[in-house]
Each structure stands twice: as C-alpha cells, then as structure tokens.
C-alpha cells in the first residue's frame, strides 16, 4: 500500500495499551491520527510520561503490538528502514567512534572500504573529524550524541526518528546540538520525527509541532512556527508561540 501525494508516514486511529502480569490494563496512546509529509521536520511535544517514546517505537516497528494502522510511502517498512537516535546514545562502548558509525552499514553487508569512507563522511558532517579513534567513554555527552546521529544517518534511511536526543545534555551543548541538527537536516533532507519535552526546542526546530497530552495521550493541538530559520529565541513571534503552547501544555508534575 502506498500513500497519496506528499505523505511519507500515515497513522490512523493508533492506540496502545500495556497489560501487566496481573492483567491490569494501562492505556498509553488513544486514537492518534497523524500524517507526516516528505522531508518534514515534525516535532512530537509532550510532558514526561505522555507516550512519546512509545509512539516512536510503534512507528519504528520496535513494538509491533497496537491497534490502528501505520503506513508508509515506501510500502511495508521495518525497523531497519529507519534511522533511530536514542535518548541515551546507545553506542557500543567497546567500539571506537568510527567503528560505531561503521556498524550501521556493516550490519547491512557493505564492503569494508566503502563503509569506512561513508562513516568518515558522516563524522565530518557532525563535526567529529579527528575523534574517529576515540572510545565513547573518552568523549563528552554532546560528542556521543553526535556519534549516534552520524550512525543513524549512515544507514541512509529516508526516515529519521530522534527520541529526546538532547535530554541528557547541558543547556549550552543542547543549543549547539539543535543548531547542528538543523544544519545536517538542511544539508541532507530526510523526513524527521523529533521527540522532546522542551517547548523552546520544539519551536526552534519544527516545521510543525504536535502536542501530545493526557493519559492515555491524545493529540491535543498542532502548531506551525511560521518563522524563517534560523529562528531567534527572542523574536516576538517566537515568544508568542511559546506562551501559547505553554498555556496548552498541562504540566502534570
């Protein structure tokens, strides 16, 4: 099944309920309908525990048990057809930066020379030239996340899923990485779904922002930050949108 027009991913009435060992049901997502356009930078925004990561796992195929349908422009896609950047880097600690990035194409069966050249290209793209032979425990959190981004990009999937990739970074590094990820995306356009709980990050990055809320989580509202990039945090419209989302954003603490 292929999708019409400009749509890359389509979610129809997707719901997810976890059932524990005592047969208790925990509904996490309810009736999510969402279309992601080709080469769109879509941000999924929500407070903690609003099922954002779960939704990403459903889209990526890491979790295949749900109600509703998820379809792709490219037909039946599996986990391996998407590039994923995880919250806590998920790098192989026994491999160097270069080897980590190389793994993506190694698993896919590419010849050694070719995949090394490709990995080096992506390391250059994320600004990690000269760190090829470092091990993950020898580099900073920001550099680990750059490595993870390079690794995900090296798979050359059209769809990139980023699950709160900068959540563990300090504010300064976080701003740098946001700039960086936009630069990479503009250089190598892919369809991106970016999960975050940070309103400003969402406005800074997204072509479109989808707000998830409630338990089970539903799509509460959508926003389009109609501003040219690079966006400024102090721009009037930036601040207006931040206040608008902030009012809708129920902080359940």
């Amino acid at each position: 099944m292929s999708l019409e027009g400009n749509t890359e991913i389509k979610l129809e009435h997707v719901s997810k309920t976890f059932v524990d060992k005592k047969n208790m049901s925990y509904p996490v997502l309810k009736d999510i309908c969402l279309e992601v356009k080709k080469q769109e930078f879509l941000v999924l925004l929500g407070a903690g525990r609003t099922g954002k990561t779960v939704l990403l796992e459903l889209i990526s195929g890491l979790d295949g048990e749900y109600e509703g349908t998820i379809s792709f422009a490219g037909g039946q896609l599996e986990t391996k057809d998407m590039g994923i950047v995880f919250q806590k880097y998920a790098l192989f600690p026994w491999k160097t930066v270069l080897e980590n990035v190389e793994m993506n194409q190694k698993f896919r069966g590419m010849e050694k020379e070719e995949r090394i050249a490709k990995a080096k290209g992506y390391l250059k793209l994320v600004g990690l030239e000269g760190f090829e032979n470092h091990y993950p425990h020898q580099i900073s959190g920001g550099m680990k996340q750059r490595t993870a981004i390079a690794r995900a990009f090296a798979g050359e999937s059209d769809i990139m899923l980023l699950d709160e990739p900068f959540g563990a970074l300090d504010a300064q590094t976080r701003w740098q990485m946001e700039e960086e990820v936009l630069r990479i995306w503009e250089e190598e356009k892919r369809t991106v779904i970016f999960v975050t709980n940070n309103i400003e990050e969402a406005i800074y990055l997204g072509d479109r922002i989808v707000l998830l809320e409630g338990s089970p989580a539903m799509i509460k509202k959508e926003y389009i930050p109609d501003m040219k990039r690079p966006r400024s945090y102090t721009d009037t419209r930036f601040l207006e949108l931040r206040n608008e989302i902030g009012d809708d954003f129920a902080l359940v603490l």
Partner: protein, 257 residues
C-alpha cells in the same frame, strides 16, 4: 596530604605481611616441634627445588598442578560459556535446563571425588574432571547473569541498523556480557586451583597437593607449610595475571570505574 597517603598505601601492606610473619614466629617459639620457623620453610623450598621428591622437583610439581587446572579450565570455558549463552538467551532452554543445573550446582566439587575416582580411576582424567566441575559453575553463572543484563538499548540500536539474530549475538550480546564472563573465568580459575589441590591430596603422585600429603605422611611439617606457601603465591600470581588480562579484554569497563 597526598604524599602522606602515598606512603601509607605502601606501608600498610608491608605492615600486614610483617604482622603475619610475627604471628608465625610466635607460634614457632611456643611449639617448635610442630610449627617450623619461616626460615626452615624457605630452606625446605630451596631443597625441594634442587632435589626431586617422587621424581619431580618443586617447579615440576607446580607445573603438573597448573597443567591440570589449565586443561580443565579451557574445557570449562568453552562449554560453560556455550551453556551459559543458551541458558541466558533462550527462554525455553532455560526452563528445561535451569532446574537440573540448580540441583547439581550446590554439590561441592570435592564431594564428587569418590564418584569420579570410581568412574575414571586414579589417573589424570579424574583430576581434570574434578577441576572441570569446580570451574564450570562460576563460568555458567556469570555468563547467564551477563547475558541477562545486556543493555536493551543496544539491541534496539542493532535492530535499527538491520542486524539479524546472529549479528546481534556476535556484535552486541556477547561483547556486552564479556566483562561478566571474564569475572566468572577469574573465579573459575581460583576455584580450579583449590579443586586440583583437593584432588591431589586424595590421590596423586605429583603436584602441589601431593607434596602436602607427603609432608603429613612423613611428619615433615616444613614440607606441609612449604606446600601451603606455594599454593598462596601461585594463586596470587594467577590473580595478578587475570586482572591484567581483564584490562586488556574489556578496556571500556575498567577505565569507566
């Protein structure tokens, strides 16, 4: 302060060894006929290094014991890791094999000695089998624990890169469990060293365990203590070598600490 601490770090181990020697000498002074002096033991060590007992000098006895341990250890490593991976990774295999393992596991290797001698006789095989029984248990336990603690994020990442089951096992599961497996091997080697001595004390014509029994049979307490000193020193050397090997095998774990 830092310099002071450095001195203390050097001084304290020396003091503790000195304390042990003092206690030894005190015992010797009170009961000289059954407790030889440290110097007597040193002299005995020198003597048996030059003059063979039961056709072998001390280095040969040590090598004989070590050979038995290493042979059994190699066998236990291969089979133990394989068995541990099956137990840790495949739920069905775990259901089938774990109860049996759990019943056999607590039986001390020494309790197997009579049965093994009945089955395998008093040759080399029985000693190797006894050491094998002692060594395989910690290797299996640590392999299972390592496999079960593999970081699930790494498995997800590998899947997102198109890895099949074999590749996930080879590139993610095994390397991530390696520190735990190596820790199991360390325990296995020291357990194996204890088992070989026990086995040799029951029946052997060569080996460090045999030296101790020979000492007891001939009322030569210096020979008994010489054997015990050798056990301690060899065991300490094995630990040092294994710690070094651990750093080489899992550099990412050790430098993180």
């Amino acid at each position: 302060m830092a310099r002071m601490k450095k001195w203390m770090d050097l001084l304290l181990p020396v003091l503790s060894v000195f304390l042990l020697l003092t206690l030894w000498i005190l015992l010797h002074v009170r009961k000289p006929d059954i407790m030889p002096a440290p110097l007597d033991v040193l002299q005995k060590l020198w003597e048996i290094t030059l003059h063979p007992i039961s056709k072998a000098t001390l280095p040969i006895h040590i090598l004989v014991s070590l050979g038995r341990v290493l042979g059994a250890f190699a066998l236990a490593s291969v089979l133990g890791v394989t068995f541990g991976v099956l137990l840790g990774w495949y739920e069905t295999f775990h259901h089938i094999a774990w109860p049996v393992f759990e019943i056999i596991r607590p039986i001390p290797p020494i309790a197997w000695i009579p049965l093994i001698i009945l089955w395998c006789g008093i040759g080399e095989t029985s000693k190797v089998v006894i050491v094998f029984i002692g060594a395989i248990v910690p290797i299996v336990l640590n392999t299972v624990a390592g496999i079960r603690q593999v970081n699930p994020m790494l498995l997800k990442a590998a899947r997102s890169m198109g890895a099949n089951d074999m590749a996930i096992m080879r590139e993610a599961v095994l390397p991530d469990s390696l520190p735990s497996i190596v820790a199991g091997m360390k325990t296995a080697l020291s357990t194996g060293w204890m088992c070989v001595l026990a086995a040799e004390m029951v029946v052997a014509r060569q080996g460090v365990g045999f030296l101790i029994i020979r000492g007891m049979d001939s009322g030569d307490s210096a020979l008994i203590l010489a054997g015990m000193v050798v056990i301690g020193v060899v065991s300490a050397l094995i630990t040092v070598a294994l710690n070094y090997l651990e750093v080489r095998l899992c550099p990412w774990k050790v430098t993180q600490k």
